[in-house]
Symmetry: C2
Subunit: 197 residues, 2 copies
C-alpha cells in the first residue's frame, strides 16, 4: 500500500476537481455506479449506521421527473447529466443496526429518540454523500452537487414506498464539460476558520 | 493528471482504511494539519459556504480539556491521539458570503432564515469533515471519528468567543495502532440501500 496519495491523485480528487454545470455526451455505466457505492460504503459512519439511501437517476425519464422538483437553474443540469444521485437518509436507520453493528445492542440507543436519530441520519448521510462525491472523482468521473430542489416533493416521489426516508441533496455525475465551470471561488487561509491549540 | 486513482490509492483512503481507537507514539506536525486543511478546503460546499470551523487540539492540555467533555469510552482515545479535531460550524456563515461567493448576493438568500442556515451549516460542515477525514488518510494518516461527546459544553469551552459557532463531531488523527481496531462491521450489498432507475 502506498504511504500517501501522489500529487496527481490529490489533484484529481481535491485540487483540480471542480463542480460542473454541463456534461460531455459520454455515458456512465451501471457498473461505474456500483463501483462508486462499493467505495463509499467503506467510509466510516457513527456505529456503522450507514443511514444514506441513494437513488441513482440514470434513465432520461427518471431525470426528467427529478428535474421537475429542482430550482429553475438546476433543471437543465439534471436533465443533461448522465446520472443524478439523490442522497437521502432513513430516519429509522436504527432498525438495521442489529446486522450492521452486531456486537452490541446499538438499536436501543436510538429507540424513542426521534430527534437524535434525525441528527445522526442527517450528519452521517452527509458524510456518505461526501464519500460518494470523492469516490466518483477517484474513479475518473466529475460531480455537480446541488441543494436547490424541493426536498419534500422529491421525497414523496422517489421514496413513496419508504415513508421514513428523506431526500437531502443531489449530485450529478458524468464527464464534465470544462466550458461549463465557473471561476474557482476563493478559499480561506488556514487562520480564518481554524484554531490550532 | 491521472485518469483514475490506482487500486493502492483506493485501498489507502477507502478499502483498507479503518477507524482507530489507539495510536502509535508518533507525532503529527503543524505542517501536516495545514496540509489537511489545504486539501479539505478545496472540496465543494453549497455556494462555497465553507461553514466548517475547525479546532485542532494538539497540545496535551487542549486534548485533556476536550476529553473531559467526551463519553467515558472516548476519553482515552482523545487523550492519547496526537491530534483531535473538533468539526464545528458557524450558524452565521452567510456573513462571509460576500467574499466567499463574490459574484452574487448570496448573503441575502440566508438573512432572516435561521433554520435554513442551520440546515446548510450542518450539512455542508459534515461534508467538510468527510473531506478532512479522507484528506488525512490521503496524506498517510489514520482517523478515529467520534460523536460521543457533549456538544454544548464543548461549544462553550472551545468557541467561547464565537457565540454563533457550534461543535458538531470529533476526529482523532495520528498513526493508528493496528491492534486497536475492531473487526470490520458488515457493509451492505448495493440493492439494500440503493435504487438505480
Amino acid at each position: 500500500m502506498s504511504a500517501t496519495l501522489s500529487d496527481e491523485a490529490l489533484d484529481l480528487i481535491f485540487r483540480e476537481a471542480r463542480t460542473y454545470n454541463g456534461w460531455l455526451d459520454k455515458p456512465v455505466s451501471d457498473e461505474q455506479i456500483h463501483q462508486i457505492y462499493e467505495l463509499l460504503k467503506m467510509g466510516p459512519t457513527s456505529a456503522n449506521q450507514q443511514p444514506g439511501r441513494f437513488v441513482w437517476c440514470k434513465s432520461q425519464e427518471s431525470r426528467e421527473r427529478l428535474a421537475q422538483h429542482a430550482m429553475e437553474g438546476n433543471r437543465e443540469k439534471i436533465r443533461t447529466a448522465p446520472v443524478c444521485a439523490i442522497i437521502g437518509y432513513d430516519l429509522d436507520f436504527h432498525e438495521q443496526l442489529p446486522w450492521l453493528f452486531p456486537h452490541t445492542d446499538a438499536k436501543s440507543w436510538f429507540e424513542g429518540d426521534e430527534e437524535g436519530r434525525r441528527e445522526h441520519a442527517f450528519r452521517n448521510s452527509a458524510l456518505q454523500g461526501a464519500y460518494l462525491l470523492l469516490a466518483a472523482r477517484a474513479l475518473g468521473l466529475d460531480c455537480g452537487p446541488m441543494s436547490g430542489f424541493d426536498q419534500e416533493a422529491t421525497t414523496k416521489e422517489f421514496f413513496a414506498d419508504q415513508p421514513r426516508y428523506r431526500a437531502d441533496w443531489l449530485c450529478a455525475i458524468g464527464y464534465g464539460d470544462r466550458t461549463t465551470i465557473f471561476d474557482r471561488s476563493p478559499r480561506p487561509e488556514f487562520d480564518t476558520f481554524n484554531q490550532l491549540i
